[in-house]
Structures are given as structure tokens and as C-alpha cells.
Amino acid sequence: MSRPPTSDGSTGSPSGYVLPAEGLGELFDALVRRGYTLVGPTVRDGAVVYDRLSSPQDLPVGLTDEQEAGRYRLRARPDRAYFGYTVGPHSWKRFLQPPERVLWRAVRDGDGFRVEAAPEEAVRYAFVGVRACELAALAVQDRVFMGGSHTDPLYRARRADAFVVAVQCGQAGATCFCSSMGTGPRCTGGYDLVLTELLGGEHRFYLEAGSPRGDEVLAELPCRPASPEDRQAADQAVSRAEAQMGRRLETQGVRELLLRNLEHPRWDQVAGRCLSCGNCTLVCPTCFCFAVEDTTDLSGQVAERRARWDSCFTGQFSYLHGGSVRATTRARYRQWLTHKLATWWDQFGSSGCVGCGRCITWCPVGIDLTEEVAAIRGSDGLRSGREASGENP
């Protein structure tokens, strides 16, 4: 995983400040004054999701999450922490690459037709509570949508405007493995502001700016310069998260490992469990695939082209003339995992996995990619004998 820019690996920048917990509302106000729409963590239907926020009270105050493969539960915390949980089923891609949108519309006009660009909602987001793994995911998606010769105008506009308030993780979940992927838990760049919530003693935030925009906002907050103790406490909070990492993925040579084991029997075993439902790809903060669909209305006067989130686990995803290229669940899971961890490097120069653990937690049958990779590594070179039977893929 390549790191976001401005990484120097340090946290104790001399420009650190301390914001009392009561002052968090002033950060919200300062962002609203600048015309930002605030989105961030809030509780809905038993999980921390990302949605509009109007005040710090909309945050999951005093709650934490318990995660395992295929299982997620909210629990009460003994304190009033604002950010005392890890990541939930949503990711920021929902705002930058909306799940469904109209790309353009064509309307019949005499003997021809005219094309109308879709009205894009002009919205400037402030993302509040972005974790280190998510900063890395944003960087991955930046490369996908803005890195090549063809950029996505909606993504580019929203991304350029977005104000990023990062939050250092004070704890890690059981499905977290960002430290394996080199993406966290420490936020080292790619944000406008970064907060570390300090709960011992006075409830407060250690705060640093990461951009001139961040400096401007910071200047309006009721902050005091951080003491060496504040800095140390902030550093310790992230170290604690690092020590709690629930999963591990050995990335050494993983690209070569997977690509030389395309006929490993493990793919058959995981296909026996995999529902091919697409949940892993839809919760993944880097999975970017979408389908482009054309429709006409009843009157036959209007045609529309829409983009919708898609998944490499659907049959229609790889449908070419005559059928689906990846007809089996085995082929689809293998495609997803090898793309994510191996061929993503060839395509985008980084891993596609940031170690957030969402695909593990939100798989209804709890398939764990760290376990799958470890199993293949543990029996490197084993072959299923499929080639002989001509059943590939």
C-alpha cells in the first residue's frame, strides 16, 4: 500500500493544539459557515453509518462496536466518547461515487434527439471522522477516478471540494488489519484536520492541521497549544489501537503467491461458502465498479443512461455476447481477491486493500480474506486438478 502524500511518520508536530470536547460543536459551526454539508458517523438501525450531521450529538456518543466475521453489534461504552468505534458498513465512496446516478438524458426532438447533461447536485462535503484506512481508500479511489487519462467529473469536483476531518483510531476492531496493509492506524496525511480523542482526565481532542484550509478552520476554534503530555497521550492512543489489531495479513510476495496459485483447491472451498451476493464489494471502500445502463421511458420520448454500483460477483458484470465470462462463484471470488491484492498493483500501482475489515464483518457467512490468503500460503502450489478436467474457470 503506498502511503498518502506528506507522510513523515510523525505525529508530534509542533503545531498541535488541544480542543476541549465541548468545543467540537464549534468545529461543526466553522465548517457549516464555510458552506460545507457535514457528513459523518451516526447511528442507524444498529450500526454506525455515514450520513448528514448537524451537531456533535448526532455522532454515536458513548457507543462502540464489536465486530467479527459476519457479525456486528453496537455496545455502550463506559464514557461519552464521540469516536469510540471503528468503521461500519458505509464508506465515503457513497458521497463521491453515488450508488445510482443519471449520466445523461436524450429527448426526442422532431426527427432527431437532443442530449441533456444530467443536473449534478452541487454539494461541498465535509467528511467528519475519516480513519487512516479510509484516507488510504480515498487515495486509492483518487487514482482510479482521477489518476488516468479519463477522469470522472463528478468525483473530481466533489473530491476537490471535500474538507477532510480525520480521526485517529484509539482502538482497533477484531476484523481490522490496517497495520498489515501499511495504511494505519496512524493518519499521516491526506486530511485538512486530524483529531485524536483523549478520554483520560479532561475529555479533549488533540488537533493538527494538514492543509492551509485546515489551518484557517483551526484558527477559529477555542484551542490552546498542546503540551508535551497532550502529544504523548495522543501518540499513546494510536499505539494502543495498533496493539489491538484483530487480524493480520502477510503481504510479503502476496501478488506472486496468488497469481501462481490460480488453481489452488482453496478457491473451490471458498466457493462452497461464498453466496456471490456482492456484499464484500459494496462495503469495500475501494471497490469502484459500476454498471452503465440505458433505458427508455414508456412514451418512447426519453432515453436515459445511468450508472449504478455493480459488483464482480454478479453474472451480468462479466456478461459478454453469449454469456458470462465468469459463470462460477469460484471464478468470481478468485477474480475479486486476486484483483484486490495482486493485479491492482499492475493496474494502479498499489494494493486495492486498505485493511479496514469491512468485507470480513459484512459477509453474511463470514468469509475472511486474511484466512483465505493464509490458507493458500500454507499450502502454496497445491492444485485442484481442475485443469485436467477442463472445468476452468
Binding site: 442507524r44 438501525d45 444498529g46 450500526a47 453509518v49 450520513d51 459476519g70 457479525r71 456486528y72 453489534r73 461500519g88 458498513p89 458505509h90 457513497r94 450508488p99 445510482e100 462452497g272 461458502r273 461464498c274 453466496l275 456471490s276 451476493c277 456482492g278 456484499n279 459494496l282 462495503v283 445502463e293 440505458d294 433505458t295 427508455t296 421511458d297 414508456l298 412514451s299 418512447g300 449504478r308 454500483w309 455493480d310 459488483s311 460477483f313 454478479t314 453474472g315 451480468q316 462460477t328 462463484t329 464483518t361 459484512w362 459477509c363 453474511p364 457467512v365 463470514g366
Partner: protein, 259 residues
């Protein structure tokens, strides 16, 4: 002069009429629809009948009597395109529960004079009897999908109807997974999308109204249900509702029915 409007027919076989009602329920679009097609045969809406042949026939219901089996052949002959709508027409419907038992026994239990009843041993989908141009799933069908299918046939294009799981719709809507976050058994991962994730949207598990998705791993989902505490009987019953006779659901329910 205005071109002749295509003739639309709507037929009922063994069914509850809910899918026909879904068409009538398209209130905002009914005038536009009537503008584009001549509603030539639709007894649920009007007694006025225009003789065939018909350009597009929508068929609701399953074949469950010898008369049905004859009549669907007549409908097919009179129709340029035949589209089946709903779980009954595409999978046999809830009445296909008879397929798992002795139909004669039902007759003698339910009817005072069973000798007056002429029925088939099994309730079967339309496609078992005649070629079908498109099958639209759902119990009942989704209004938007129904209009999409009609629009597509009018425009001579393929209907844009997804065959993937309900999970894809659920995640697009930003809903929280009821299985993972609540431990609620849900058929969504093996069920075809189309309803817009109606039940997970109100924190219920999916009931499988749209039948099996394109590659349904029902065995793996059933294992997950067991881990959430569902008994074999509960698993069997979940797969045995409106789409009980759809192959994947039928096979899974049979694996669990004897506990």
C-alpha cells in the same frame, strides 16, 4: 395518421390477482400507458374485449387445471410476445406447495364433493407449457419493473431487470445488513433483486418473493441460518413460500424438511 397502437392483453391463471393490481396501481403512468397501447384484453380492468391477436400478452398465474393447460396454448397462439408476471407464472406460486404432497388428499380434506373438482397434481409455471419471451419475478411484481418491461417491449429492446441478489439493492440504499447487525435470518443473499430491498428496509429479513437469484448458494445460506438458531423446519419453511417450486428453493427445502 396515427400509427396503430400495439394491443396489450393481460391474462389470469391460478393466482391472487395481485400482479394485475400492480399494473392498475401504476396510477401516474396509466394514462401514458393507455396512450401507447390499446388495452385490448384486461378483465380485471374492463369487460370490453378486443379480439386478438395481441402484440404483448402479460400472463399472471400458474397452470393448475387441465383447462389452464389448454388455455395457455391459445394465449400463446394469439400473442406476438408473451411475458409472464409474478411468482405464480414464473415458479408455480404458493399453490405449488401441493407439489410436495398428495393432491388427492387435499381435495378430499378441503372439498365436500371432491368429485366435482378437476385439478392437476402439480402447479407449474407458464414456461413449462409454452415458450415465454420474458419472465418477470415477484410476489407481487414491482410496478417500476413492470413498466420497464412494457417500455422495453414497446421499444424493441431488452428489459433492464437485474438477476443479482437483493443485497446489491440493500447496499445501494445504504441499509444496514439485518443478518450481520441483528442476527436476523434473511433470504436476501440468494434472492433476486427487484423489490428495492423492501423488507430489510423495515428491519425484516427477506422472504424471497422474487425467487432465486442467478447463482444462489442456498446451502451456504442455510448453514448460516442454522448458526443464527434457525431450526431445520424453519429453514425448510423459509424456502417454501411463493417460490417453493423454483428449483434452487425447492431443492434446499427438501434437504431440510425432515429435520
Amino acid at each position: 395518421m396515427r400509427a396503430r397502437r400495439p394491443k396489450l392483453a393481460v391474462w389470469k391463471f391460478a393466482s391472487c390477482d395481485g400482479c394485475q393490481l400492480s399494473l392498475l396501481n401504476c396510477e401516474d403512468e396509466l394514462l401514458a400507458l393507455a396512450d401507447r397501447v390499446e388495452v385490448a384484453y384486461f378483465l380485471e380492468a374492463s369487460r370490453a374485449v378486443v379480439r386478438g391477436p395481441y402484440d404483448l400478452s402479460l400472463v399472471e398465474g400458474s397452470v393448475s387445471t387441465p383447462e389452464d393447460a389448454d388455455r395457455i396454448r391459445q394465449v400463446r397462439k394469439a400473442s406476438r410476445y408473451l411475458v409472464t408476471i409474478g411468482a405464480c407464472a414464473t415458479a408455480g406460486g404458493v399453490q405449488a406447495l401441493r407439489n410436495f404432497a398428495d393432491c388427492q388428499e387435499f381435495l378430499s380434506t378441503v372439498y365436500a364433493r371432491p368429485e366435482f373438482i378437476r385439478t392437476l397434481e402439480r402447479s407449474t409455471p407458464i414456461a413449462d407449457h409454452v415458450p415465454v419471451d420474458f419472465e418477470l419475478r415477484g410476489c407481487p411484481v414491482d410496478r417500476a419493473q413492470l413498466l420497464e418491461v412494457i417500455s422495453a417491449f414497446l421499444a424493441g429492446r431488452r428489459p433492464r431487470v437485474a438477476t443479482h441478489s437483493v443485497c446489491v439493492e440493500c447496499k445501494r440504499r445504504g441499509l444496514v445488513c439485518v443478518m450481520v447487525a441483528q442476527g436476523t435470518p434473511c433470504l436476501g443473499p440468494v434472492t433476486q433483486a427487484g423489490c428495492g430491498a423492501l423488507c430489510p428496509g423495515v428491519r425484516r429479513g427477506c422472504y424471497g418473493c422474487f425467487g432465486p437469484a442467478e447463482s444462489p448458494n442456498t446451502a451456504s445460506l442455510a448453514r448460516a441460518w442454522s448458526q443464527l438458531g434457525a431450526t431445520a423446519q424453519e429453514v425448510a419453511r423459509a424456502f417454501r413460500t411463493f417460490n417453493a417450486a423454483a428449483d434452487a428453493f425447492r431443492a434446499e427445502s427438501e434437504r431440510h424438511e425432515r429435520g
